[in-house]
């Protein structure tokens, strides 16, 4: 490089995200940390009141999460039109418009509805489904995520646009056991599962994977070293494989995909909040339903059934898991008509603690 070369503009790195303060509407800036209470004006419409008496109206609209730049621009336009250009997204991927003017609520709702982004998801409703990439982007997926979400939310839509449940009901979808999201702690979770051990690609394995690391990756010790066609590779003891896919994560030569055997499992009764009861893990409801795109009717039906039973039987302020714990799991299976199988009985590390260690039984 000659000393005369024009010095390149310094590459900008490590600046972090823009400071949020730039993005707060004036009403929030004025009342930051000063909110006194809130009330719900309608499903999807909240009103937060500050100690100063000022009010902030929030209108929450559905989002498919996978958003086109066109839709984002549409949101931007609506924000300009109704609330000075200020908006946010929620931790469950809905979009929220932050209004100072009460009068703007209704027209905004109408515009959103017209554009196909209905309002709702607050309080005791079903909000957006936290989900993952699925066939849209991930290599690991045993199912699609977005398609499942769309199919379920269409069917559950009245529970989104109205607040008619006993409590919040949080759904999540993950397309493989990695569970990107909060599948392990949701009221209802839909999880893609494999049911066949990895199909070992002996041709490439030795080249692209480290055998000891691969063997160590298996939690059940199902992977053993083996020599195949004279080359070092591995074998999988089929009975010891529970299809977790961890081997595939560390070694691309161990794909688990198998269209006939991949499918969906359904889990219930988890929660994250500390409200009333401690956070809970989601528990197995249905071990396997077929992957049936584009609308997964079996999954939708199963989820709607569980939601309906919950909606009509739980007490006010009772989350799914709290309801089930009150009535007991046997009653849950009886009520929903879901068969209880050998797969429901835990056989992992702490299994012993899930065995019923009392005679507390309802007959």
């Amino acid at each position: 490089m000659t000393p005369t070369a024009t010095p390149k503009a310094k590459r900008i790195t490590d600046i972090g995200p823009p400071n949020y303060e730039k993005f707060l509407p004036p009403v929030i800036k004025r009342n930051y940390g000063q909110w006194k209470f809130h009330e719900t004006l309608a499903p999807g419409v909240l009103c937060h009141v500050s100690v100063t008496g000022e009010k902030l109206y929030t209108v929450r609209a559905a989002s498919p999460r996978l958003l086109s730049v066109h839709s984002i621009r549409l949101f931007a336009d609506l924000a300009d039109k109704y609330c000075g250009g200020f908006l946010r997204f929620t931790s469950r991927n809905n979009v929220e418009f932050l209004l100072s003017e009460f009068a703007n609520i209704e027209p905004l709702k109408q515009d959103l509805l017209k554009a196909g982004y209905p309002v709702g998801g607050t309080n005791n409703s079903i909000s957006n489904i936290v989900h993952t990439q699925g066939w849209v982007h991930c290599h690991s997926s045993a199912t699609d995520a977005s398609g499942l979400v769309k199919s379920m939310m269409d069917a559950l839509f009245p529970y989104f646009s109205e607040e008619k449940l006993p409590a919040k009901l949080r759904l999540a979808v993950a397309c493989c056991l990695n569970m990107c999201g909060a599948v392990h702690c949701s009221d209802i979770a839909v999880l893609g599962v494999h049911r066949k051990p990895p199909k070992i690609r002996h041709d490439v394995l030795p080249k692209i994977c480290e055998v000891p690391t691969l063997i160590a990756s298996c939690p059940t010790g199902a992977i053993r070293p083996a020599t195949v066609s004279g080359k070092p590779s591995v074998e999988v003891i089929e009975e010891q494989c529970m299809y977790c896919g961890n081997c595939y994560t560390v070694c691309p030569a161990m794909p688990l995909n198998d269209p006939e055997n991949d499918g969906i499992s359904i889990w219930v009764g988890g929660k994250v909040s500390n409200a009333r009861t401690a956070p809970k893990f989601t528990k197995l409801a249905i071990p396997f339903l077929p992957n049936n795109p584009p609308r997964w009717p079996e999954v939708v039906e199963a989820v709607v059934n569980i939601v309906d039973k919950y909606a009509s039987h739980a007490k006010k302020y009772e989350r799914m898991g709290e309801w089930i714990e009150r009535i007991g799991w046997p009653r849950f299976f009886e009520m929903t008509g879901i068969p209880f199988t050998r797969y429901h009985i835990d056989d992992f590390k702490n299994a012993g603690l899930t065995f019923a260690r009392s005679t507390h039984i309802r007959f």
């Binding site: 995200p17 949020y20 993005f23 730049v69 200020f86 839509f157 990695n178 690391t213 560390v250 500390n274």
Partner: protein, 401 residues
């Protein structure tokens, strides 16, 4: 095979454009004016729907200069059929605290992504990032350049600190017990290096929730969960309580009887809270936001070790420090993280999350290592097995001989 408009038919996906919920298929379809990637994405997706099988290859390592994370490499396994998504990498862009934007900021992001990618996004990814969904390797650097110039930066991936996230907190919630937005922002800024250059045995996530409702699901998903709470008494407005009752609230049944410690009583006129017994579950406050508020001595509980099930089973975060005053949070967390990371770096196995490490070495040893005293608040109950690794001992007679 092609439709009249020259595009592949997608009869299965078309089904997903019906119904009241906004359709991701529609989002993809309407973005084909931005990039031909979108049509091929739909095409490949239709194939997946037909075959019930994904068509992405196991990721490859791609990224921007000097960064060890923030980009997820992705390649089609049927590139002949769908050449426009032969490469289809995502960029993870660190969101502003609380996912607040101005319309302008969003338009800037859209413009950049229209120039350099598919025009498709996730708003947001599960960790909290803005996800720019799908671009080619040689667009990464230009996109990055424009992003940083616009004031945005990449988020984490791989064995990095992951993009911290927080609930809306004091920006719009009366229950925020500390400034979640600021803490999330300041920690992110403080950890730029950890975010961008993988320094750990595995990923490390931080999530900040303003109160025990945990609207950011920190307890389930963050290696370090910061969950707001208070130390003094619940703030109580008796007139407002009466108003709720007058308006039909069955306070006995829906509040008192649902309090986990039964520390509330209603005598028909007045609500009495035995605050010493309150475990700050938020229920009563949630039911009567006008009448009750968290106390004034506010701060947060720090919890450690949540994660998804791979590979030793899912973990929920568990209590590490019961209370840190709001003003001391940033400093305390930085100091603790330093010690935690040091111990983890030295003792963690490859791909071992900090929660798994604690399970393996034992909480007591972990506490020793990071210099915290064991306290009963850390456990739901003391051990029930008699297998104690005693450390202090007497010299036995034989030894003294």
């Amino acid at each position: 095979m092609a439709n009249e408009n020259g595009k592949r038919p997608t009869p299965l996906l078309d089904e997903l454009e019906k119904g009241p919920w906004p359709s991701f298929v529609t989002e993809i379809r309407k973005t084909s004016d931005v990039s031909p990637m979108c049509d091929d994405l739909l095409g490949q997706l239709e194939l997946s729907y037909e075959e019930k099988k994904g068509h992405w290859k196991h990721g490859g390592i791609v990224g921007v200069l000097g960064y060890g994370g923030g980009v997820i490499g992705r390649y089609s396994d049927v590139p002949e059929q769908f050449p426009n998504v032969a490469h289809f990498h995502t960029m993870r862009i660190n969101q502003p605290s609380g996912w607040f934007y101005t319309s302008d900021a969003l338009r800037t992001l859209c413009d950049i992504w229209e120039r350099h990618g598919s025009g498709l996004t996730n708003m947001h990814g599960s960790t909290g990032d803005i996800v720019f969904l799908g671009t080619k390797t040689d667009e990464l650097e230009p996109a990055f350049k424009e992003l940083t110039e616009a004031g945005f930066d990449l988020g984490g991936s791989g064995s990095c600190l992951r993009t911290p996230s927080c609930c809306v907190g004091p920006a719009r919630c009366e229950w925020a017990c500390y400034d979640t937005m600021k803490l999330c922002n300041d920690l992110t800024q403080a950890y730029q290096d950890e975010l961008h250059r993988p320094p750990f045995p595995y990923k490390y996530k931080i999530k900040c929730a303003g109160c025990p409702n945990d609207c950011v699901a920190a307890a389930a998903r963050a290696d370090l969960s910061v969950i707001g709470t208070w130390k003094d008494d619940i703030q109580q407005d008796d007139a407002a309580v009466s108003e709720y009752v007058a308006n039909g609230l069955d306070i006995q049944k829906d509040v008192c009887e649902r309090c986990p410690t039964h520390c509330m009583s209603w005598n028909g006129e007045k609500l009495t809270i035995e605050n010493r017994e309150c475990v700050r579950c938020m229920h009563c406050i949630n039911v009567m936001p006008k009448a009750l508020l968290p106390g004034k001595e506010r701060g947060a509980t720090l919890l450690i070790g949540a994660k998804a099930p791979i590979v030793n089973g899912a973990l929920l975060s568990s209590v590490l420090v019961p209370f840190v005053p709001a003003e001391e949070l940033q400093e305390t967390i930085e100091e603790l993280n330093k010690r935690i990371w040091e111990f983890w770096d030295e003792n963690g196995k490859n791909r071992e999350r900090v929660g798994e490490l604690i399970q393996r070495v034992g909480m007591a040893n972990f506490l020793d290592a990071i210099g915290l005293d064991p306290i009963p608040e850390m456990v739901t109950a003391p051990r029930d097995n008699p297998y104690i690794y005693f450390q202090e001992k007497q010299a036995s007679e034989e030894e003294s001989k």
